[in-house]
Amino acid sequence: MRLYSVRYLFSEGVKNVWKNRMMSIASVGVLIICFILTGVFTLLSISIKNTLKSIESRNTIKVFLKDQVETEEAVNLESKLHEIDNVASCRFYSREEAQEKYKEQLGDIYEQMKERNFLPHSYYVTLKDLSQYKETVAEIKELPEVDIISSRVELFDKLTKFNRFISSVGLVLTLVLALIALFIITNTIRLTMYSRRQEISIMKSVGATNTFIRIPFIIEGMVIGIFSAIVASFSLNVFYNFIVESVRKNISFFYTPVLHNLVFYLLVYFTIAGIVFGVIGGGLSIRKYLSKGVYGK
């Protein structure tokens, strides 16, 4: 195809969007919602995966001893801990040390605690092999002196389950939204085609090829798709950064990474999706009109 035809067909496609602007706006709206929801679920899933990774990579676990364990007993536990294969090192924190450490957070309670320190003795245990994480945590728990372990195993499990849930909900939602978006785009383009049915029949009578007739409508779909992709990308980027900020402040364990070039990736993926939607939508909607006669009655 020659350059001037490309230019002509492209401008016809853009004109279609404008001529049928009410429906175009509706399509863009639905597509944006579709993109944003899909994006939110994807980003959420990515964040959970990152959190999982960061939990895994923190090879230090906190072992709290039972209240009644006396200081001497507690100190002696070190050798027992070292007997466990997967333990690389351990450091003892007495309840007094803990009290000093949390002085600030404790505030008024700090003074009361001078009389009775209810903080337990604890150990910081570092592991050698992270893949043995769960097993080692279980083994340490077996020790009679040990009360609770802030091992994050439960959190890990919960997050893993949650992630699975989010992923499948996200997938279903994305598919449903994609179908809705496709339906809307197809109907938008059908409407444009309806308003241009006479032109289509004239084009056929003068010998325009089906491809040539089809292209402006595919471009119409693509323009809608690309425009939605751009708006959705930037909105989602702003939204994500806002979420990251507030999560940082409020939920310390939840690891929401700053995704560099997020806009760029969103743009790329969404634009590709938008183009695919446009092409399929445009292709689907024109069939009816191409099979109609030149006389178009």
């Binding site: 020659r2 035809s5 002509y8 029949s201 004239i202």
Partner: protein, 220 residues
């Protein structure tokens, strides 16, 4: 130019529109197709433009059997002909120039070619000064001249016109016929369906009469 060999057309609903048509139209001929309403004239033209495919028989256009032409080749067949409609088929929101240019754009012509060709054709049909007019600002005769320009602009060897004067008054009809006659003199083959006996008599061209799907009179 056009050859029908034992062509029959039965519509899916069982209507027999054409029956064993044999006809030869030579290059450069001007043929009037006449017959009463429902006799099959439009079907005859539609089988030339491949709007309809014959149920049996062969149709040759420039020695190519178009009854078996694959769908993807139909647009290229249509580029060899210009079609004129009874109801003009102009695009309401395009001016005269763009209506004519539309046929060129639709077949991938460049703007430069369009700028050269469209004014030339409009001058040929006497509408040089109406380039910017909208179809609604034109008389029926003028509108049909725009329709004719659009059919001519891609330089076809054949003009197919189904009652081109059916919607315009007799004096205007005569002008359109004069124009077609001029175009025919330049070597373009013309096939025109009409109900107007007077025009047929006045121009004294070859007449093909169709009656109940059969050719009853094919002089020359």
């Amino acid at each position: 130019m056009i050859r029908f060999e034992d062509v029959s057309k039965v519509y899916p609903n069982g209507t027999v529109a054409l029956e064993h048509i044999n006809l030869h139209v030579k290059k450069g001929e001007f043929v009037f197709v006449v017959g009463s309403s429902g006799s099959g004239k439009s079907t005859f033209l539609k089988s030339i433009t491949r709007e309809e495919t014959p149920t049996s028989g062969k149709i040759f256009i420039a020695d190519e059997d178009i009854s078996k032409l694959p769908k993807t080749k139909v647009p290229f067949l249509r580029r060899k002909m210009g079609i004129v409609f009874q109801d003009f088929r102009l695009i309401k929101n395009m001016n005269v120039f763009d209506n004519v240019a539309f046929a060129m754009r639709a077949t991938g012509a460049s703007e430069k070619e369009i700028k050269n060709r469209v004014p030339y054709i409009l001058a040929l049909v006497g509408l040089a000064c109406k380039e910017k007019s909208m179809p609604t600002q034109l008389s029926g005769g003028e509108q049909q001249r725009v329709g004719l320009s659009r059919a001519l602009v891609n330089n076809p060897k054949l003009i197919i016109a189904d009652e081109p004067t059916g919607n315009i008054d007799p004096r205007m009809s005569y002008e359109i016929l004069e124009l077609l006659n001029e175009i025919n003199k330049m070597g373009t083959t013309i096939l025109m369906v009409t109900h107007e006996q007077e025009l047929v008599r006045k121009f004294g061209k070859r007449v093909v009469e169709i009656k109940n799907g059969k050719i009853v009179q094919a002089a020359a």
